[in-house]
Amino acid sequence: MEALTLTPLETEALRLSLWISVWAVAGSLPIGIMLAWVLARRNFPGKTLLDGLIHLPLVLPPVVIGYMLLVLLGRKGMLGEPLYRAFGISFAFNWKGAALASAVVAFPLLVRAIRLSMEAVDQGLEAAARTLGAGPMRVFFTITIPLVVPGIITGIILAFARSLGEFGATITFVSNIPGETRTLPLALYTLTQIPGGDAGALRLCVISVIVAMLALMASEILTRRVASKLKG
């Protein structure tokens, strides 16, 4: 039965992975919903550019994202230094940086899922709510948001799963520090670099698969439950 209990090292990596992913998704969700709405409902010059910018992390190598974050938000970065001096906030080489890297890489998946769902919402319903006396903000929170809940759930789970698997941007931006930024994939990578680490790497591999599967199944069940509720 000893094989089924997690070693302290594994517990730490798993806990850190979940913690960082939760923060990555929670932090980017409000901005993601806002941008999804802007892309789904507004027309303005530069929309294609904004769309491209949001999708960029999907096609760029994560290492590039990590390096850009390092240049921008590192201790001596263009934004990182003033941010640290003004507010004492730093993303360099800590879990917050890892969460930020994960959030950026997972962001396109989050926005895309919510946007598609928002585009599917009948704008006639929003118009009807307006004629019933609801202002744009009320319409957004009482009609649009409830109707895109399935898309929001899908987006959250996709982004969460992507965050759990984040490797390249994280290791480039915040390095591989045990207990701070060494998430499951980084711990796995570390073990593969040590002689005799194969068994441990395999265990982490299995843990990763289980966590990812659980997340996907949870998403499926939740989405189905919400969808059936919407259908009455």
Binding site: A127, T131, G133, A134, G135, G232
Partner: protein
């Protein structure tokens, strides 16, 4: 009383109409599909902005291009019944009904929830969701939802068009009762002569975005027959 005099270019054709309704009772907007009927009531509701013109209900201006008045739809107090109902699928019938009502100050309400539920015979549907309603039931709930905002004008866009004959017979009597129960103007869009003869006192005849004739239903009867 509803006064309207608006111009709006929509794609290839221009809606250019002017007419006014009585203080109460049903005025039918009658014409072929594509004559611009829905565009006209969308302009009254504030869902389409006219290029120029004036829209006023009981002397209150909702839109006036000269004075740059454009009251947003949520402040116009138009009770709009859409052709496809547009009930909110995530809310129960009851929540749909009170969605607009709760946004109207008590002092401005002239119909009560119980009255409307009773008038439309929808008391047994309150706990259901729209997906579980028949077409006729949906339209009755949609009428109730609009009515409960205590509107100063009712706009009805072919509320019976998506229903089969049996369902039409189920909803029509309820609509026929509205003018007797409420003293507000009702603008009723239709391309069905039957409905108009049953419901309307006045007719505005539209063709290709222009008003071809206006008058009492009886007087225009002979013209309808030829359409």
């Amino acid at each position: 009383m509803l006064e309207i005099k608006v111009k709006k270019r929509l794609g290839g054709f221009t809606v250019d109409v002017a007419f006014s309704t009585g203080v109460a009772g049903v005025t039918a907007l009658f014409g072929r599909s594509g004559a611009g009927k829905t565009s006209v009531i969308n302009m009254v509701a504030g869902l389409i902005v006219p290029d120029e013109g004036l829209i006023a209900v009981n002397g209150t201006k909702l839109f006036d291009s000269k004075q740059s008045i454009d009251v947003p739809p949520e402040k116009r107090r138009c009770g709009y019944v859409f052709q496809d109902g547009r009930l909110f699928p995530h809310l129960t019938v009851k929540s749909n009904l009170v969605y607009g009502m709760n946004l109207v100050p008590r002092a401005q309400r002239y119909v009560s929830y119980d009255q409307v539920v009773d008038l439309l015979g929808i008391g047994h549907l309150l706990a259901r969701r729209p997906a579980k309603l028949s077409g006729g039931e949906k339209q009755r709930v949609a009428i109730g939802r609009a009515l409960l905002t205590s509107p100063s004008v009712m706009l009805m866009d072919e509320p019976l068009a998506s229903l089969d004959i049996e369902r039409k017979g189920e909803v029509l009597p309820f609509i026929a009762r509205l003018p007797r129960e409420l003293s507000i103007p009702i603008l009723y869009v239709s391309h069905s002569l039957d409905e108009i003869l049953n419901l309307a006192e006045m007719v505005v005849l539209l063709d290709a975005g222009k008003v071809v004739a206006t008058g009492a239903v009886k007087d225009l009867m002979s013209r309808f027959k030829r359409m």
